[in-house]
Symmetry: C2
């Protein structure tokens, strides 16, 4: 905890202050936009960017991760609560806090339980399919906002009901944002700016666009009348109110499932951001510490009027590029946001005039970047099963909902894995004449014993491949009626689970019925330790356990 503070070096300070200011500037519009996506008043997005960022700086392991609201988790929050309360109502606000609280507790418990390996549960194509599906959902809902309508308006109703001036302002902003996202960094580079400066400036363009359009709204031009704005942003820091949170505990049971899925996505998103940057910075990320850091950040969000938060790849990348050296940068950003909220109410009044269509344009530009077309193309060419999983997950998100999309993604990732590992590689082996080396009979001129079949199993033996293993053995034995000894060479078997243990036990029994013995050799230490503890193999095994294939070969060449 706070290990970075102990080793803090004075030379880091300039970078941390600079990136702290830049990220704070990004956080103001992003936070408010994602709060709207979650069905909350914009100020909740600012709240969610303060205390959670402090909490993560204390407990997390990444040096430059920027923790706060993010598009995917905000949408998940909105859809999870849509049927429970009216968006924006006080009960709804409490429910989002509860959701963040539960997600935080789940993350903390997972961290303590060292479940960091859960980050390995989604393949990259499936994660990409999920992200793309969510991005399309968000774009769908924001198109209506861009046209000056409620996000609930269906796509086909937008055109007839669109509000002209909103469409104009929204589409123009979208165009500028989209073009600047694609070209501004390169353009600024050509103007002589350093890569870092160009990147930072281009990332701040949304702030300038928002500022410009807000000024237009404040100018009171006649044509801007009727363009929806975000409305009053109250000043002052959020109340820390644990009492109200616990009073709602009756809802916990119906929130557990969505909270678990949101927690999973919080972790997945944050890990992908943290790992990408850690590789660049040659730092180490501890998955279990990350779970803890994210969990505490979400509990902090729950206690301070926020909603589920996670590490944001876009803000963290800017933080890194802008020269952040330690979590102090994040603390400075959070401090600046807190200062903003402490300004007199009249100073914040202009924020109320931020036009919603421009916010929508900003969100659309942000999430379009989440659709990784290159990966879709690569997966399609490289591995059809992965491409199928990608499309199926995206389709699941779009047509069955975000939560089911996560479940579909996990199931597909794992199904493909099972499909790939359900046929273990096995080789019939023999001895290279005059040596103690054993090789595949199909590839080398080796000598074998007529009464013995030696099979090398090249995979751990577990529930997913026992059926294939047994049927492969039966097949090999079918044309070898003279075989009396089966030797399984276990040099590549890293584990045998309980299902594998049973399969071996049953194989032993069935061989015995057919007058054959089962032998094992080259069993790895940890595997042997377990087998010896089990009565099944030790007492029932008809054959012997040899140290090496060579010993088995010598012994059995003298056997009948």
């Amino acid at each position: 905890m706070l290990h970075w503070l102990k080793n803090y070096q004075r030379t880091w300070l300039a970078g941390d202050i600079g990136s702290g200011v830049v990220v704070a500037l990004m956080m103001i519009p992003q936070g408010m936009a994602y709060a709207l996506l979650a069905g909350l008043p914009p100020v909740a997005g600012l709240y969610a960017s303060i205390l959670p960022a402090f909490a993560y700086a204390l407990f997390g392991s990444s040096m430059v991760q920027s923790v706060g609201p993010m598009a995917i988790t905000s949408l998940m929050t909105g859809t999870a609560l849509a049927s429970m309360a009216v968006a924006g109502s006080s009960i709804y606000i409490l429910l989002t806090a509860e959701l963040a609280f539960l997600a935080g507790v789940i993350l903390i418990v997972s961290g303590i339980g060292r479940l960091g390996f859960l980050a390995n549960f989604l393949s990259r194509p499936v994660m990409s399919g999920f992200t793309s599906g969510v991005a399309l959902l968000i774009i769908g809902s924001q198109c209506a906002v861009l046209a000056g309508l409620s996000s609930k308006v269906a796509l086909w109703e937008i055109v007839p009901r669109a509000h002209g001036p909103s469409v104009l302002m929204g589409l123009l902003s979208l165009l500028v944002l989209w073009m600047s996202q694609r070209w501004s960094a390169g353009l600024l580079g050509k103007l002589g700016l350093s890569l870092a400066a160009a990147t930072i400036l281009s990332r701040l363009i949304p702030v300038f666009v928002l500022l410009l359009n807000t000024l237009i709204m404040l100018s009171g031009a006649a044509w801007t009348v009727g363009i929806p704005v975000i409305g009053h942003v109250p000043s002052g820091l959020p109340d820390l109110d644990a009492g109200a949170l616990l009073a709602l505990k009756a809802n916990f049971s119906s929130l557990v499932m969505p909270a678990a899925l949101i927690a999973f996505i919080i972790f997945m998103s944050s890990q992908s951001a943290a790992l990408t940057l850690a590789q660049k910075r040659k730092e180490h990320i501890d998955a279990n510490r990350e779970l803890l850091g994210l969990g505490v950040a979400n509990v902090a969000a729950a206690l301070s009027g926020g909603f589920p938060v996670t590490g944001s790849i876009s803000r963290s990348a800017v933080n890194h590029v802008a020269g952040a050296n330690s979590p102090l940068a994040t603390l400075i950003s959070a401090g600046l946001l807190a200062t903003l909220l402490l300004l007199p109410g009249t100073w914040l009044a202009p924020l109320a005039s931020i036009p919603l269509p421009v916010m929508a344009a900003m969100i659309i530009t942000a999430v379009i970047g989440m659709i990784d077309l290159a990966l879709i193309q690569v997966a399609w060419r490289y591995d059809r099963a992965d491409a199928f999983a990608l499309f199926a997950t995206a389709a699941g998100v779009l047509f069955l909902g975000v939560e089911r999309g996560v479940v579909i993604g996990v199931v597909l990732s794992l199904s493909i894995l099972i499909g790939r590992t359900s046929r273990p590689h096995m080789a019939v082996i023999g001895r290279l004449p005059g040596t103690e080396h054993f090789r595949n009979v199909d590839r080398h001129a080796v000598e074998t014993l007529a009464n013995t079949l030696m099979l090398r199993v090249d995979a751990g033996i577990f529930f997913g491949n026992t059926a294939a293993l047994i049927s492969h053995i039966d097949q090999q034995l079918q044309n070898r009626s003279e075989v009396r000894h089966l030797v399984l060479v276990m040099s590549a078997v890293n584990f045998i689970d309980t299902s594998g243990l049973y399969a071996l036990t049953e194989l032993n029994a069935s061989l015995s019925e057919r007058g054959m013995q089962l032998h094992l050799c080259e069993v790895k230490g940890p595997v042997m330790d377990r087998l010896q503890g089990s009565p099944l193999i030790k007492q029932a095994l008809t054959g012997k356990i040899f140290l090496s294939a060579g010993q088995a070969y010598t012994f059995l060449s003298n056997a009948t």
Copy 2:
């Protein structure tokens, strides 16, 4: 289809007829009991044992599998529909048919899609946990029936409300059945019967117990008044009515999920029965043909007044032991049941007096056998993770319901697999002096190059282990500042999925930034084919792809 009929040998006939009669005798009480468990009139259990058995004989691949109602799928049917209609009502009966229809279609589609490998999705401990949980649920509900009450009566209300004579009859039957299950086969064996005869006779004891108690009821003894009976069993074959089934299609969407889970359990149960017997009979089971056979059987059940059916391990084992040689035995059983239903109604009248408490005793005895205490003990000693999964699945079934229990089981099976495979085994290797053999530097006296790190990866590279792979490589490189070449020896890499491809591409880029080259060697044929199709590795790879580790070693010993 019907391959067995083409090769039918006259000598098989006696065995098929004998076992056909025995299994029919078992099917009558079992079918009716499981129909009650599913909330249906008893006759539905007989219907479900006729046409589905015929259908399976035509399409399935097992020679002795007995397809019909089974305890687990019956309970799942009952719980899935409990909230949709009143048990036993005509709409409820149609809903069960719809459920069987959907499960059948899902199974057929899975068979055509060759998804037979899905049977590998549950580890044996998890399947055992699931089965045990369901068995406990069934015992819980049948305790009330044994006491002469409705199965809906809660456990703690049984004692105050129990009906004395029912308890007497039920408990006595339970005692006899339980003792006979444990000791009768051995006892009959000691009396000189062959093992087969003793097994068959002991399996028919439930029929005798039921017969005896029905005679007691028919005797009209005063004390039996008030003991619930199964009631009128209508004669005649079921109507084949596809129209009514399709008229209800509005319910399909809410039935899809339960149907999919039931289909999964149908397949899992049937496979475990079929594989056990196939191993004994040296036959081959084709998982995809099984899916088809079970699917058609369930559609047949739906069309003929039945409910979800599957292969029953208890009946199939008796079929095998009683001498069945082909599916003709099943056809004979089904034919006998059909004949029974075609008898004049007055002949079937005595069936109405079968006492429910004895039925409950029969069900309890049957499902107690499904709780595999030995496996629990073995798993606990052998592998705590598996034991935990077993308990968690059983607890899931008991406290969250059967459907969630299946999902929990699948997730746990796969989680443990991911946990086990997420740390791939890797070895730094060097050359055995004077040879072309490469071995682990920790175990052998080998020579290495100062500028080169050779790493052998001993697992397929996939989403679950890329993080560990990369962090392991970074760790190895940390103390070797002189290394300029990383050679990944891929002799044991059977597949690289899209996530793995990206990990290698990113590794290549990050090594390049640090002034190092990435080389590959001994890439297997199928893996190489895929890599060559992908632009990433082929165009971006900074190093070379060598055929053998020896070539890489020689080349790099001359490199800088």
